[in-house]
């Protein structure tokens, strides 16, 4: 059985990077939590002159990020960012990773400890294709934004845009911005966003 049962038109990774790039001011200090091979950070560094730091657990990805000349800390996000001083960054990025973290609220808290602002991109399990797979296909969903079979998925949580808003209301932070990502574009407002967006970007700040 091939992993992907549904193909979305755009390479999700590139889309997500673009959406995040657009939300980060030039010259910001940025920490990317779960930075993978450092692709996004390298662009932030070269195109936006950002001062960057990566956090990644996987040693192969870590080595690849080192190969881009990036400063990077090997850490499990579930353990918190013990080594990173409070307020050291303007922006903390968590891209397509929240659903893989055991305690999402704790990680969002950590992000807003080390940075003024958190950029979070999450897959939307409320997308109509996902819903169709579950309701009509009777199967656990596998899509471009959720490319794993249920038994090998690193995703431990399944959330929709409505769920994320609910999560945010439980923590000490507020949603400054919500951008549904539909196709290859992040849009300010969308009709039936929770049905049409495969992912969404949130900008969070401390509530008080």
């Amino acid at each position: 059985m091939p992993a992907k049962r549904i193909y979305l038109p755009d390479p999700l990774v590139a889309v997500t990077d673009e959406v995040i790039m657009a939300q980060v001011d030039s010259g910001s200090r940025v920490v990317d939590m779960g930075c993978g091979n450092g692709r996004l950070l390298e662009r932030l560094q070269s195109d936006h002159q950002c001062d960057v730091l990566g956090v990644e657990l996987d040693l192969n990805e870590f080595a690849a990020a080192l190969g881009r000349g990036l400063p990077i800390i090997r850490a499990d996000l579930d353990d918190g960012l013990r080594d990173v001083p409070s307020g050291a960054f303007d922006v903390a990025v968590l891209s397509q990773t929240l659903q893989q973290i055991r305690r999402p609220l704790a990680v969002l808290d950590e992000m807003l400890r080390v940075a003024r602002r958190a950029l979070v991109v999450v897959p939307n399990f409320g997308h109509w294709r996902v819903r169709l797979q579950v309701v009509l296909g009777g199967r656990a969903p596998v899509t471009d934004s959720l490319p794993y079979e249920w038994f090998e998925s690193p995703n431990v949580h399944f959330l929709t845009m409505i769920d994320f808003r609910d999560l945010a209301s439980r923590g000490n932070f507020k949603i400054i911005k919500e951008l549904p990502i539909i196709g290859d574009r992040a849009v300010d407002r969308a009709w039936l966003a929770n049905l049409r967006a495969h992912s969404a970007l949130y900008v969070l700040e401390r509530a008080g």
């Binding site: 040693l59 080595a63 080192l66 190969g67 000349g69 990173v84 050291a88």
Partner: protein
């Protein structure tokens, strides 16, 4: 410090082939080294070896700082018939993680050591007799000053990297702090900003073993009338060696396996029943053949005294003065320099806004992991790209027009 002309090290040490033993006399004439203790000392002979070729721009030099009992012979064999190659042969050489086809590698025996660089077993020029216990008390900072003088002697203004584990890692840290403009990068393995009390405790037991050996004779054991304190030094090595291993690595290698007999002998006077006992005795015995007890006392004390905060101030302030990119590596089963100690320096470096990368690597081999052949490829996966990108950034930084 004196800045002499370049002694063309490249001629003496081809990239491939046999490394040559070399030495330089530093702090000569009226320019002795001022030690941390305030005492002055000189001249100092530094025994070193080099590998690979220095580029015309002199921008590819990497200095390897050896640990407590290492020497300048980091890689290769002096003679094809040598039983063993240098102590980091799996890591330094042609095509190795520190590739001597690309980099010019320098390794020098530490000041106060006993493998060619001036130390307590050498003759005091005033008396013609070995210094012994009268050799000046020295610190990691003093060792680094001698390294730096050697680098200048070789005509290298700025090292691409200094790398070292354990006491070697302490030297790298001290170097980055003391000579910020001399290092483009610093690679610190299995080390910390200080030796913790547990480390001092183990060193204390080792020194006690040497002091208590009747042959030690207050450090005056050289010459035909004396005998080196073999028993004490071997015991010191045995104790220290345990701290380099881990519960897991000892279990893997030896377990409760017996050395000779098929079963327990119930004989109190039988000293080596278990394989681990035999191994430690062997380590002790081999060590006394190559190491001087006074050097051991001196260097363990230098390690005890190492504390960046004590000598330079609060860590974030200390690292604000540095200019090097850092790569910090610790190992999961290292209990002599546990990961928490690496994290302490990484946190301070981040606080100071430094360019730092840090990884804790999984290994069953304890503190010694950075020296164990099977563990080197994993370390190489980090060190190789780190050196490459540092080199590129360094070259780009020197060229005014960037592509």
């Amino acid at each position: 410090m004196t800045f002499n002309s370049v002694p063309t090290p490249v001629m003496n040490s081809p990239a491939r082939g046999l490394p040559a033993r070399q030495s330089a006399t530093l702090f000569t004439g009226g320019e002795p080294l001022t030690l941390a203790s305030g005492r002055t000392f000189g001249p100092i002979t530094a025994a070193y070896q080099t590998y690979g070729e220095l580029t015309p721009a002199r921008d590819n030099a990497i200095f390897v700082c050896h640990a407590l009992t290492g020497d300048a012979h980091v890689a290769g064999r002096h003679d094809p018939d040598d039983r063993k190659p240098g102590w980091w042969d799996g890591f330094v050489g042609p095509g190795r993680p520190i590739d001597t086809d690309r980099y010019f590698v320098i390794c020098a025996n530490v000041f106060g050591g006993c493998q060619g660089t001036t130390g307590p077993a050498d003759a005091n020029p005033q008396t013609g007799k070995p210094w012994g216990p009268d050799f000046p008390f020295l610190t990691v900072a003093d060792i680094v000053q001698v390294h730096q003088a050697l680098v200048e002697h070789l005509g290298i203004e700025r090292l691409l990297a200094a790398i070292g584990g354990s006491l070697g890692g302490m030297q790298v840290l001290e170097w980055a702090v003391r000579f910020p403009d001399r290092l483009a990068s610093a690679i610190v393995l299995a080390a910390g900003a200080k030796l913790n009390a547990q480390g001092i405790a183990f060193n204390a037991v080792g020194r006690r073993a040497i002091y208590a050996d009747p042959a030690f004779n207050s450090g005056h054991y050289y010459g035909s009338s004396g005998e080196p304190p073999r028993f004490g030094l071997a015991l010191a090595r045995m104790i220290a060696h345990i701290t380099y291993l881990s519960e897991q690595s000892i279990e893997l290698k030896f377990g409760r396996k017996l050395q000779h007999s098929a079963g327990l002998t119930y004989d109190l006077l039988k000293e080596t029943e278990f394989q681990i006992e035999s191994y430690l005795h062997h380590q002790g015995k081999r060590f006394v053949e190559r190491f001087d007890a006074n050097s051991y006392l001196l260097l363990t004390r230098a390690m005890d005294y190492f504390d960046l905060v004590e000598s330079h101030g609060p860590l974030p302030d200390v690292f604000k003065k540095t200019d090097a990119r850092f790569l910090v590596v610790s190992y999961t089963t290292d209990w002599l320099f546990p990961t928490s100690q690496s994290r302490e320096i990484v946190r301070a470096m981040l606080d100071a806004g430094r360019h730092v990368s840090f990884a804790e690597l999984e290994s069953p081999h304890g503190h010694d992991a950075f020296l164990i052949e099977s563990q080197l490829p994993m370390l190489g996966r980090l060190v190789t790209p780190f050196l490459e990108t540092t080199y590129r950034a360094n070259v780009a930084g020197k060229t005014p027009e960037k592509p």
